[in-house]
Amino acid sequence: MSVFRDPTIEQRRIRWAWTFLALPIVFYVTIRFWPTADAFVLSFQKWNLLKPREWVGFDNYVTLWNDPVFWKVFRNTFVYLIIGTPVSLVIAFIVAWHLDKVRFLHGTIRALYFLPFMTSAVAMAWVWRWFYQPVPIGLFNNMLASLGFSQVAFLNSTSNALPAVLAPAIWAGLGFQIIIFMAGLRAIPVSYYEAAKIDGVSGLTVLWEITLPLLKPTMVFLVVFSSIGFLRIFDQVFNMTTNDPGGPLNATKPLVLLIYQTAFGGSFEMGYAAAQTVVLFLILLIVSLIQLRILRDR
C-alpha cells in the first residue's frame, strides 16, 4: 500500500482528480443513471405505487402495441417533429439572414426575437390559449368576427388543434435559433463574399454556394437540438389544453403527455408508463444517431 503512504506527485494528482470527480459521478449515477436503468426494469413490471412491484414480462409492451391511443400519440409526436423542425429552421434562417444585414436598431430587433425564448413556456402557452378562444374573449376570433369572417375553432378541432399548439412552440424557439444562425453567418470569412463579388456572382448563388454549405455544422446542431425539443414537447400542449389534456380526442397529445397521464393521471400505471418511456428513449436515440451520422459525413 505504498501508494497511500508515500504517493508520487502523479498519484496524488490522480487521487485529487478522483476526489473532485466523485461528487458529480455519484450525483449522476444516483439521480440519472440508476433511475434510467430502473425505468427499463419497471417496464417489465406492474406497479401502482401502493402495492409491491410484480413481474409481468412483456405485458406492458403488448398492451402498448395494441393500444390505438398510443399509435395516435406516436403519430402526433412525429407530426410535431416533421412540421416543427423544418418550419422553425427556415423561418429562423430567413430572419437571421436579413437581420445580419440590418444595422439600424440591430440589437433591439434581435432582443425582440430573443424575448419569447426567455419567457416561461407555461405563461406563454396560457397567453396563446386566450388568443385562440372563441368570441367574445379570443383575440384572433374577435378580429375575424369584426372583419365579418366566421370563427375558426383553433383548439376545439381535431384538425386545427395540433398546428395551433405547435405555432407558439415554434415561435418560442425562434429567438435561440436566430442567435445561433447569426453566429454561424458571422463565422463565414468575409473574403469568400468579396471573391464572389469580384466574380460578379448573383446573390442567390452566393446563398446557395457559399452561405448554406458553410452553415452546415450550425444547421446540424440546430436540427438535432430542435428535433429533440419537438419530440419532447409537453409544456405547450399541456397548458393549452388543461381542461382535456392532449385533446380534443387526443388530437394534440404527444408521447411525453401520454407518459405523464399514464403514470400520474389517475391510475398510477407506473410499469406501463415506463414501457412508453423506453419507446420514447429509443425514438430519441435513433433520431439522434441518424443526425449524428449525417454530421460525420461532412
Binding site: L49, L50, P134, V135, P136, N141, A145, P248, G266, S267
Partner: protein
C-alpha cells in the same frame, strides 16, 4: 361563545368516554390534506379545538398543492413516511385498503351500526367486512347556480324546476352577435367540469337508465342512455343555448357574468362569494321526467398503517373529533361543504339557507359514483361528447364506444 361551550362539552365527553389515557406525555400526530385555503383554515380551527380538549396531543398539519397531492400521498404512505391521519378522495380508498395502508376504524369508537344510521347512506361505500375504513367530515353535492341579474333582465322569476324549463330559461338568456356567435350563454356546459357527473348520476337516471348495475358494471349503453346524451349535446347543437368552449371554462363564464346558469358543486360557493359584482342564487338541479337526482362526492379521513401505539390512540381521538357534528358545522361555515350526517346537515337552519339549502336538499336523493379511475372515466364521456360535436357521431354509437371504454377501465381495475 356557543362554540366555546360546545368545545367544553366535547372536552368533557372525551375525557369521560376515553378514560384515563387522555392525559399522557406529549404525542404529535401528523395530518395531511391538499391545499385549499378554506379547508386549511377550517382544519386549523378544528386542530385548535381538538388540542384544547386533549392536552398532550398536538396535531401537525401538512398540505400540498392539489395537483401533487395524490402522488405525494401514494409515494409517502407505502414508504412509511406519510401522515398518521390522511385525507383521501373517496374514490381512492379501495387502492389503499387493498394495499393494507389504511387501518380500519375500531368498532368501539366508531360502531358501524351507529355510522350506518347517522351518516348519509353513500358513506357506506367506506365499509369493509363490517368495519368502516374511513369517514368524511363533509360531503359535496351539485346544484344549479344562476345569475340573478340576467334572470331579471330576461323576466324569469323562479329558477327552472324541470329540464324543459331549464332549456326555455336558457333560451331567454342566450345572446348572439350578428354572425350567430354566442356572446352570452343561457347555460354553461363542459364535460371537463361537473357535467360528466350531471350526465352520469342525474340525466341518465332521469331518462330512465341507472348508470351502473348492482355489480358495478356499465349499465347506460341503451336507448335511454343515448337519449340522455343526445339531450345534453342538443343543448349546444340544436337549442344553441350553450357552447362548451365558451370563455374557456364553464365556471369562468359564470363568474364573469356571461352565463345565466351553471351547474357546479358546493365547493364553488367560496369562489363565487368572493367575486365582486356578481349577484347569484342557487337552486336544486332541475328534475327530469319527474325524477330528482344528484351526484355527491366526498373526501374521507383515514388512519394510515403508520400510526401505532400512542399515536394510534391519538389519531383515533382526532378522527372522532373531526367527524363529530361540531366539526361538520365548522367545516360548513368555513369551507361551504355540507355535513356528512343528515342530523347535522338537514337542520331547519341549513335547509332554509338560500345558498346551502338547495345543496342540502339535493343530498337526500344524491348518488355517489364508485369510481375506479375518476379522470379516466371522465375522459370517456368527454370523448363521447367530442365525437358527437366534432366528428358527427350518433349518440348511440358515441355512447356504445364510451360504455366499452369505461367497462375496460373498470375491468382492468377489478382484475388488479
Amino acid at each position: 361563545m356557543k362554540l366555546h361551550l360546545k368545545t367544553g362539552v366535547m372536552a368533557a365527553a372525551m375525557a369521560l368516554g376515553l378514560g384515563a389515557s387522555a392525559a399522557r406525555a406529549d404525542v404529535e400526530i401528523e395530518y395531511w390534506q391538499y391545499f385549499f385555503e378554506a379547508r386549511v383554515d377550517a382544519m386549523d380551527k378544528l386542530i385548535e379545538n381538538f388540542e384544547a380538549a386533549n392536552p398532550g396531543i398536538t396535531v401537525k398539519m401538512t398540505h400540498f398543492p392539489y395537483d401533487d397531492y395524490r402522488t405525494k400521498v401514494a409515494a409517502a404512505i407505502p414508504a412509511g413516511e406519510g401522515p398518521d391521519v390522511v385525507q383521501l378522495f373517496y374514490g381512492w380508498l379501495n387502492d389503499y385498503v387493498d394495499a393494507g395502508l389504511i387501518q380500519p376504524l375500531p368498532t368501539d369508537m366508531f360502531p358501524p351500526e351507529k355510522i350506518d344510521a347517522e351518516f348519509f347512506p353513500m358513506v357506506q361505500a367506506m365499509k369493509r367486512d363490517g368495519q368502516y375504513m374511513a369517514l368524511p367530515t363533509a360531503v359535496r353535492a351539485l346544484a344549479l347556480f344562476y345569475n340573478k341579474r340576467l334572470f331579471e333582465e330576461a323576466g324569469i322569476t323562479t329558477p327552472p324546476a324541470t329540464l324543459e324549463e331549464l332549456v326555455a330559461d336558457a333560451k331567454l338568456m342566450t345572446k348572439t352577435d350578428g354572425a350567430g356567435n354566442i356572446t352570452q350563454e343561457g347555460l354553461t356546459s363542459g364535460m371537463t367540469g361537473q357535467d360528466h357527473h350531471w350526465l352520469r348520476e342525474v340525466l341518465f337516471r332521469q331518462f330512465g337508465t341507472p348508470p351502473y348495475n348492482e355489480d358495478g358494471s356499465v349499465a347506460y349503453d341503451n336507448e335511454a342512455g343515448a337519449a340522455a346524451l343526445q339531450w345534453y349535446v342538443d343543448l349546444q347543437a340544436k337549442e344553441k343555448v350553450t357552447q362548451n368552449t365558451f370563455m374557456d371554462e364553464a365556471q369562468a363564464a359564470f363568474k364573469a357574468g356571461r352565463a345565466g346558469m351553471h351547474i357546479d358543486g358546493s365547493f364553488r360557493i367560496g369562489a363565487l362569494k368572493s367575486t365582486r359584482g356578481l349577484d347569484w342564487g342557487v337552486a336544486e338541479l332541475p328534475s327530469g321526467m319527474g325524477v330528482q337526482s344528484n351526484y355527491a362526492s366526498y373526501w374521507v379521513n383515514a388512519i394510515s398503517s403508520k400510526a401505532e401505539g400512542e399515536k394510534l390512540e391519538a389519531a383515533e381521538k382526532f378522527m372522532a373529533y373531526i367527524t363529530s357534528d361540531e366539526a361538520m358545522q365548522i367545516w360548513l361555515e368555513t369551507v361551504g361543504e355540507l355535513p356528512a350526517k343528515p342530523t347535522a346537515a338537514l337542520t331547519p337552519e341549513n335547509e332554509a339557507d338560500p345558498v346551502y339549502g338547495p345543496f342540502v336538499r339535493g343530498l337526500s336523493y344524491a348518488h355517489a359514483t364508485i369510481f375506479a379511475d375518476e379522470s379516466g372515466q371522465r375522459n370517456v364521456l368527454v370523448d363521447a361528447v367530442n365525437r358527437m360535436l366534432l366528428e358527427g357521431q350518433s349518440a348511440a354509437d358515441a355512447l356504445h364506444q364510451a360504455a366499452m371504454e369505461e367497462q375496460a377501465i373498470l375491468d382492468k381495475y377489478n382484475a388488479k
